[in-house]
Amino acid sequence: MSQPFSAAMSQVGPDSDVVVTSRVRLARNISGFPFISRASNPVRQEIMRVVRRAVDQSCNGTDHDQGMRWIELQSAPSRDRILLSERHLVSRHFANSEGPRALALSSDEHSSIMVNEEDHLRIQFLCAGSRLSDAFKEAFSLENALANCTNFSFHPRWGYLTACPTNVGCGIRMSAMLHLPGAQIMKETDRIKRAAKELHLAVRGYYGEGSESIGDFFQFSNQTTLGATEDALLEEFNGIVLPRLIGYEREARTAALARYRSRIEDIVFRAHANLSAARLLTADAATKDLSRMRFGVVMGLLPIELTTIQRLLLQVQPAHLSLIDPRSLESEEADREVRATYVRQELMRGTKDTK
């Protein structure tokens, strides 16, 4: 886990100018056990045992043959739990809550299973860029492998049963983390959010449910899980909704640049100057300026690789920063100083690389 470069959050993929990451998450519960809210700690331990056995069995001789790491969160050091949440592999709630819970994680960190979150299993596939149909295929391949080794709660009318009744049916959540600086400058973000609501999409912040948007990053996900097949839901989200959102943002960027070129250049170059000169930097401030630089990079204003920005967006987060230099943990001032120094060095190197 000390290598952040395998994390999808630090990589680049198709349509990366707008789509940061794609994720498909399947909610499943093991048949014959109460849901998490009514499960005592011994029962939760038993659920973990059943899931772990299924993971071990299902990984043999399949695509997931490299095996999955098993991380028990209740005994994991707090830094590791925060690392996982900064990589968007676990929810913040899951990282900080209590009781027996685990994460099964593939070596490339794309596939993972949260065990004992809101549901017994949250099977997920996370990757960089717009690759929802790949994520869909991979998540179901893992789900199928597990279904061969254990039974999931199922109801003939409601489909896969989930702890929260609004997730029943396919129990599928497809989401895309979008970077929308164009829409923000054109003051279209609220309109997009309203339109998304009408399409039964949820719009969330950088860290998912209950989090705020930092640096114009928004997470869009489907809320409908019942009354349509999985393939139909994917087709609607990936084939219709997502391309429209991407197209809308690209148009907004072009329009913004045509109308407010100097203003945008000012924002982008100031952000670069800021990060190249700052001696003290908070994670939020760094994220905001990196977001502005990201916009400059994809619009061809800054000669820096998008991968550099993407990697820094992850590395300026507190736990990842402490991997680079543990002195950042000593005090708040030390944290800011280490961050500023690191970002300065990396930007100097990143600019040189592309020359």
């Binding site: 014959g32 056990f33 109460p34 849901f35 809101e118 009318r157 009744p165 029943v168 039964h200």
Partner: protein, 165 residues
């Protein structure tokens, strides 16, 4: 007013018009029956105030909702309302009318699953509720120090998990 034929109180009051003359008739229940008049039906209060009646019905339904409890995991409706999460698969049937409303409004009116199903879904459904209840009984037995009963339940659970011959 008393009956025209005896001293009992009159329950039927009629004005009879016959050949241009009108005549008041007051009869007790016995004499009214004898004369072939229908007795006035004693109306329940709820029918006189229909609105009050339906309020009472809604209240009754609500209190039934509130007192609903899942037999398998013991979750009450009040707790479900607060947390918005269910306790076990059997809760879906225990709180059916409320769950139906919640799901339909969250799912844009959808009422049935159309997606994939696991192999042997019906059998899973049959066993899962039974198992949840037995696990809860087991915990209760241990808490009450009924070790013999707990041992028996544990054996039964094990038998449930092993594939049937």
């Amino acid at each position: 007013m008393n009956c025209d034929h005896c001293d009992k109180p009159a329950v039927v009051h009629e004005i009879v018009i016959k050949g241009g003359d009108s005549k008041e008739v007051h009869l007790c229940s016995e004499h009214a029956i004898a004369a072939g008049y229908p007795l006035p039906v004693e109306q329940p209060l709820a029918d006189i105030f229909p609105k009050l009646g339906s309020v009472a019905k809604v209240e009754a339904a609500k209190s039934k909702e509130r007192s609903a409890k899942c037999a398998a995991c013991g979750l009450t409706f009040t707790i479900f309302r607060k947390s918005a999460t269910l306790g076990c698969p059997a809760c879906y049937d225990a709180f059916m009318p409320m769950i139906e409303k919640v799901i339909e409004s969250a799912q844009d009116g959808a009422t049935h699953h159309l997606g994939r199903s696991p192999v042997g879904g019906a059998e899973i459904e049959r066993l899962q509720n039974l198992r949840v209840k037995m696990m809860r009984d087991l915990e209760a037995a241990i808490a009450a120090e009924q070790y013999e009963r707990a041992a028996k339940l544990r054996d039964e659970l094990k038998a449930l998990d092993s594939p049937s011959p």
